[in-house]
Protein backbone atom coordinates (compact mmCIF):
# COMPACT_ATOMS: atom_id res chain seq x y z
CA UNK A 1 0.00 0.00 0.00
CA UNK A 2 2.78 2.42 0.87
CA UNK A 3 4.38 1.99 -2.52
CA UNK A 4 1.37 3.45 -4.25
CA UNK A 5 1.33 6.92 -2.79
CA UNK A 6 5.09 7.25 -2.49
CA UNK A 7 6.95 8.77 -5.37
CA UNK A 8 10.08 7.74 -7.21
CA UNK A 9 13.09 8.36 -4.95
CA UNK A 10 15.66 11.09 -5.60
CA UNK A 11 18.47 8.79 -6.73
CA UNK A 12 16.17 7.06 -9.18
CA UNK A 13 14.97 10.40 -10.57
CA UNK A 14 18.56 11.47 -11.25
CA UNK A 15 19.29 8.15 -12.94
CA UNK A 16 16.13 8.51 -15.02
CA UNK A 17 17.02 12.01 -16.15
CA UNK A 18 20.30 10.53 -17.36
CA UNK A 19 18.17 7.96 -19.26
CA UNK A 20 19.59 5.09 -17.25
CA UNK A 21 18.06 1.95 -18.72
CA UNK A 22 17.86 -0.02 -15.51
CA UNK A 23 16.05 2.78 -13.72
CA UNK A 24 13.66 3.18 -16.66
CA UNK A 25 12.95 -0.54 -16.66
CA UNK A 26 11.97 -0.30 -12.99
CA UNK A 27 9.75 2.71 -13.73
CA UNK A 28 7.93 0.79 -16.45
CA UNK A 29 7.54 -2.21 -14.17
CA UNK A 30 6.09 -0.16 -11.31
CA UNK A 31 3.80 2.20 -13.18
CA UNK A 32 2.72 0.61 -16.44
CA UNK A 33 -0.51 -0.88 -15.13
CA UNK A 34 -1.49 2.28 -13.27
CA UNK A 35 -0.89 4.35 -16.40
CA UNK A 36 -2.89 1.87 -18.41
CA UNK A 37 -5.81 2.26 -16.02
CA UNK A 38 -5.60 6.02 -16.40
CA UNK A 39 -5.45 5.79 -20.20
CA UNK A 40 -8.27 3.30 -20.34
CA UNK A 41 -10.48 5.54 -18.22
CA UNK A 42 -10.06 8.23 -20.88
CA UNK A 43 -9.93 6.37 -24.22
CA UNK A 44 -11.23 2.91 -23.32
CA UNK A 45 -9.58 -0.50 -22.93
CA UNK A 46 -8.96 -1.27 -26.58
CA UNK A 47 -6.38 1.40 -27.32
CA UNK A 48 -5.13 2.02 -23.77
CA UNK A 49 -2.10 -0.25 -24.15
CA UNK A 50 -1.08 1.47 -27.37
CA UNK A 51 -1.49 4.89 -25.79
CA UNK A 52 0.71 3.97 -22.82
CA UNK A 53 3.38 2.52 -25.13
CA UNK A 54 3.38 5.84 -26.94
CA UNK A 55 3.57 7.62 -23.60
CA UNK A 56 6.59 5.55 -22.49
CA UNK A 57 8.47 6.53 -25.62
CA UNK A 58 7.66 10.17 -25.02
CA UNK A 59 8.59 9.89 -21.33
CA UNK A 60 11.93 8.26 -22.12
CA UNK A 61 12.74 10.82 -24.80
CA UNK A 62 11.81 13.77 -22.64
CA UNK A 63 13.36 12.64 -19.36
CA UNK A 64 16.51 14.73 -19.86
CA UNK A 65 14.21 17.79 -19.97
CA UNK A 66 12.34 16.90 -16.77
CA UNK A 67 12.67 19.99 -14.59
CA UNK A 68 11.37 18.68 -11.26
CA UNK A 69 8.69 21.33 -11.14
CA UNK A 70 6.21 18.60 -10.29
CA UNK A 71 6.92 15.14 -8.93
CA UNK A 72 8.10 12.65 -11.52
CA UNK A 73 5.01 10.56 -10.96
CA UNK A 74 2.69 13.50 -11.71
CA UNK A 75 4.76 14.28 -14.77
CA UNK A 76 4.42 10.77 -16.23
CA UNK A 77 0.68 10.75 -15.45
CA UNK A 78 0.33 14.07 -17.19
CA UNK A 79 2.11 12.84 -20.31
CA UNK A 80 -0.03 9.72 -20.40
CA UNK A 81 -3.26 11.68 -19.89
CA UNK A 82 -2.24 14.05 -22.70
CA UNK A 83 -1.58 11.15 -25.06
CA UNK A 84 -4.93 9.63 -24.17
CA UNK A 85 -6.77 12.92 -24.59
CA UNK A 86 -5.25 13.66 -27.99
CA UNK A 87 -6.03 10.10 -29.08
CA UNK A 88 -9.61 10.63 -28.01
CA UNK A 89 -9.74 13.89 -29.96
CA UNK A 90 -8.41 12.18 -33.05
CA UNK A 91 -10.99 9.40 -32.81
CA UNK A 92 -13.91 11.67 -32.20
CA UNK A 93 -12.97 14.70 -34.24
CA UNK A 94 -16.36 16.31 -33.94
CA UNK A 95 -16.40 16.21 -30.15
CA UNK A 96 -14.54 18.83 -28.14
CA UNK A 97 -12.78 17.57 -25.04
CA UNK A 98 -14.82 19.96 -22.92
CA UNK A 99 -17.93 18.21 -24.21
CA UNK A 100 -16.55 14.81 -23.32
CA UNK A 101 -15.74 16.12 -19.87
CA UNK A 102 -19.27 17.42 -19.48
CA UNK A 103 -20.67 14.02 -20.30
CA UNK A 104 -19.40 12.70 -17.04
CA UNK A 105 -21.36 15.22 -15.06
CA UNK A 106 -24.83 15.07 -16.54
CA UNK A 107 -25.40 11.35 -16.25
CA UNK A 108 -28.18 9.76 -14.24
CA UNK A 109 -28.43 9.98 -10.49
CA UNK A 110 -29.16 6.36 -9.61
CA UNK A 111 -28.63 7.08 -5.97
CA UNK A 112 -31.78 9.22 -5.88
CA UNK A 113 -33.80 6.01 -5.82
CA UNK A 114 -32.71 5.58 -2.19
CA UNK A 115 -34.82 8.57 -1.15
CA UNK A 116 -38.52 9.35 -1.02
CA UNK A 117 -40.08 12.63 -2.16
CA UNK A 118 -39.28 14.34 1.13
CA UNK A 119 -35.57 13.53 0.83
CA UNK A 120 -35.58 10.85 3.57
CA UNK A 121 -34.18 7.37 3.10
CA UNK A 122 -36.68 4.91 1.66
CA UNK A 123 -33.95 2.35 1.07
CA UNK A 124 -31.27 3.02 3.68
CA UNK A 125 -27.85 1.43 3.31
CA UNK A 126 -27.44 -2.18 4.37
CA UNK A 127 -25.30 -2.87 7.43
CA UNK A 128 -22.04 -4.16 6.01
CA UNK A 129 -20.53 -7.28 7.53
CA UNK A 130 -16.95 -6.07 7.48
CA UNK A 131 -15.50 -3.19 9.50
CA UNK A 132 -11.84 -3.55 8.62
CA UNK A 133 -10.72 -1.59 5.52
CA UNK A 134 -7.93 -4.10 4.94
CA UNK A 135 -10.50 -6.87 4.70
CA UNK A 136 -13.49 -5.25 3.01
CA UNK A 137 -12.20 -5.89 -0.49
CA UNK A 138 -10.28 -9.11 0.02
CA UNK A 139 -12.93 -11.21 -1.72
CA UNK A 140 -12.09 -11.84 -5.37
CA UNK A 141 -15.73 -11.49 -6.36
CA UNK A 142 -16.17 -8.07 -4.81
CA UNK A 143 -12.86 -6.94 -6.29
CA UNK A 144 -13.96 -8.03 -9.74
CA UNK A 145 -17.26 -6.30 -9.16
CA UNK A 146 -15.54 -3.03 -8.27
CA UNK A 147 -13.29 -3.24 -11.30
CA UNK A 148 -16.32 -3.78 -13.50
CA UNK A 149 -18.17 -0.86 -11.93
CA UNK A 150 -15.15 1.42 -12.31
CA UNK A 151 -14.84 0.38 -15.95
CA UNK A 152 -18.44 1.35 -16.60
CA UNK A 153 -18.21 4.82 -15.05
CA UNK A 154 -18.37 7.77 -17.46
CA UNK A 155 -15.01 8.94 -18.80
CA UNK A 156 -13.18 11.04 -16.25
CA UNK A 157 -15.32 9.96 -13.30
CA UNK A 158 -13.22 6.83 -13.26
CA UNK A 159 -9.99 8.74 -13.80
CA UNK A 160 -10.77 11.21 -11.02
CA UNK A 161 -11.79 8.46 -8.61
CA UNK A 162 -8.74 6.39 -9.39
CA UNK A 163 -6.30 9.26 -9.02
CA UNK A 164 -7.92 10.63 -5.87
CA UNK A 165 -9.17 7.65 -3.89
CA UNK A 166 -6.92 4.84 -5.07
CA UNK A 167 -3.68 6.65 -5.85
CA UNK A 168 -4.05 9.41 -3.27
CA UNK A 169 -3.16 12.31 -5.55
CA UNK A 170 -4.00 15.86 -4.48
CA UNK A 171 -6.92 17.74 -6.03
CA UNK A 172 -4.49 20.19 -7.60
CA UNK A 173 -2.49 17.41 -9.23
CA UNK A 174 -5.65 15.81 -10.60
CA UNK A 175 -7.00 19.04 -12.07
CA UNK A 176 -3.61 19.55 -13.62
CA UNK A 177 -3.42 16.04 -15.09
CA UNK A 178 -6.97 16.01 -16.47
CA UNK A 179 -7.43 19.70 -17.28
CA UNK A 180 -10.43 20.01 -14.95
CA UNK A 181 -11.70 22.82 -12.77
CA UNK A 182 -11.69 22.11 -9.03
CA UNK A 183 -15.48 22.20 -8.80
CA UNK A 184 -15.94 19.89 -11.77
CA UNK A 185 -13.47 17.47 -10.22
CA UNK A 186 -15.42 17.44 -6.92
CA UNK A 187 -18.66 16.61 -8.77
CA UNK A 188 -17.08 13.78 -10.75
CA UNK A 189 -15.45 12.35 -7.64
CA UNK A 190 -18.65 12.40 -5.63
CA UNK A 191 -20.69 10.70 -8.34
CA UNK A 192 -18.11 7.97 -8.76
CA UNK A 193 -18.06 7.37 -5.00
CA UNK A 194 -21.84 7.08 -4.77
CA UNK A 195 -21.97 4.62 -7.62
CA UNK A 196 -19.30 2.48 -6.05
CA UNK A 197 -20.95 2.70 -2.65
CA UNK A 198 -24.21 1.55 -4.17
CA UNK A 199 -22.59 -1.51 -5.70
CA UNK A 200 -20.68 -2.48 -2.57
CA UNK A 201 -23.90 -2.03 -0.59
CA UNK A 202 -25.78 -4.23 -3.03
CA UNK A 203 -23.00 -6.82 -2.85
CA UNK A 204 -23.09 -6.81 0.94
CA UNK A 205 -26.84 -7.36 0.86
CA UNK A 206 -27.11 -9.96 -1.91
CA UNK A 207 -23.64 -11.38 -2.50
CA UNK A 208 -23.98 -10.32 -6.13
CA UNK A 209 -22.50 -7.48 -8.10
Amino acid sequence: MAAKSSDVNEAAVSALIAQDEKAFRQLVKSYHLQLKKLASSIVGDVVAEEVVQEAWLSIFTNLPNFERRSSLKTWIYRITANKAISRLRRESKSIAFSEIKARGSDDDDDFDAHFDDTGSWQKPPWTWQENDPAKLLTGKELQNCIERVLGRLPQLQEAVFMLNDIEGKTAQEICNILELSASNMRVLLHRARLKLFDHIDHFQETGEC
Binding site: Q143, R186, R193
Partner: protein, 77 residues
Protein backbone atom coordinates in the same frame (compact mmCIF):
# COMPACT_ATOMS: atom_id res chain seq x y z
CA UNK B 1 -32.45 20.66 9.44
CA UNK B 2 -30.72 19.07 6.45
CA UNK B 3 -32.50 16.22 4.70
CA UNK B 4 -30.92 12.79 4.38
CA UNK B 5 -30.57 13.34 0.64
CA UNK B 6 -28.64 16.55 1.31
CA UNK B 7 -26.38 14.74 3.75
CA UNK B 8 -25.50 12.26 1.02
CA UNK B 9 -24.93 15.11 -1.44
CA UNK B 10 -22.53 16.80 0.97
CA UNK B 11 -20.88 13.62 2.21
CA UNK B 12 -17.82 13.79 -0.04
CA UNK B 13 -17.19 17.39 0.93
CA UNK B 14 -17.63 16.40 4.57
CA UNK B 15 -15.15 13.51 4.53
CA UNK B 16 -12.65 15.60 2.55
CA UNK B 17 -12.91 18.50 5.00
CA UNK B 18 -14.42 20.89 2.44
CA UNK B 19 -17.45 22.10 4.42
CA UNK B 20 -17.61 25.49 6.11
CA UNK B 21 -17.93 25.59 9.89
CA UNK B 22 -21.66 26.24 9.60
CA UNK B 23 -21.94 23.42 7.07
CA UNK B 24 -20.12 21.08 9.43
CA UNK B 25 -22.35 21.94 12.38
CA UNK B 26 -25.52 21.32 10.32
CA UNK B 27 -24.03 18.09 9.09
CA UNK B 28 -23.06 16.83 12.56
CA UNK B 29 -26.48 17.77 13.92
CA UNK B 30 -28.21 15.62 11.31
CA UNK B 31 -25.99 12.57 11.69
CA UNK B 32 -26.31 12.83 15.47
CA UNK B 33 -30.05 12.41 15.00
CA UNK B 34 -30.18 10.02 12.06
CA UNK B 35 -29.06 6.42 12.29
CA UNK B 36 -29.29 5.75 8.54
CA UNK B 37 -27.07 8.66 7.60
CA UNK B 38 -24.65 7.68 10.34
CA UNK B 39 -24.39 4.23 8.85
CA UNK B 40 -24.04 5.66 5.33
CA UNK B 41 -21.20 7.89 6.45
CA UNK B 42 -19.38 5.18 8.41
CA UNK B 43 -19.53 2.83 5.44
CA UNK B 44 -18.53 5.53 2.97
CA UNK B 45 -15.40 6.14 5.04
CA UNK B 46 -14.79 2.41 5.24
CA UNK B 47 -15.06 2.12 1.47
CA UNK B 48 -12.65 4.99 0.92
CA UNK B 49 -10.06 3.68 3.35
CA UNK B 50 -10.28 0.22 1.77
CA UNK B 51 -9.54 1.47 -1.77
CA UNK B 52 -5.74 1.52 -1.47
CA UNK B 53 -5.95 -2.22 -0.74
CA UNK B 54 -7.30 -2.98 -4.20
CA UNK B 55 -5.01 -5.49 -5.81
CA UNK B 56 -2.06 -3.74 -7.40
CA UNK B 57 -0.15 -5.87 -9.85
CA UNK B 58 3.24 -5.26 -11.43
CA UNK B 59 4.31 -6.21 -14.94
CA UNK B 60 6.33 -9.37 -15.42
CA UNK B 61 9.94 -9.00 -16.60
CA UNK B 62 8.95 -10.29 -20.04
CA UNK B 63 6.27 -7.65 -20.43
CA UNK B 64 8.74 -4.96 -19.36
CA UNK B 65 11.21 -6.32 -21.93
CA UNK B 66 8.67 -5.94 -24.76
CA UNK B 67 8.01 -2.32 -23.86
CA UNK B 68 11.74 -1.61 -23.57
CA UNK B 69 12.29 -3.04 -27.06
CA UNK B 70 9.65 -0.77 -28.54
CA UNK B 71 11.03 2.26 -26.76
CA UNK B 72 14.53 1.49 -28.05
CA UNK B 73 13.32 0.82 -31.61
CA UNK B 74 11.43 4.08 -31.82
CA UNK B 75 13.85 6.25 -29.93
CA UNK B 76 14.95 9.22 -32.05
CA UNK B 77 18.73 9.01 -32.52
Amino acid sequence: MLKCKEIVEKSSDFVDGQLTLKGKIDFYWHIFMCVHCRRFLRQLRLMLSSMPYLDEKELTDNEVELIMQRVKENKPE
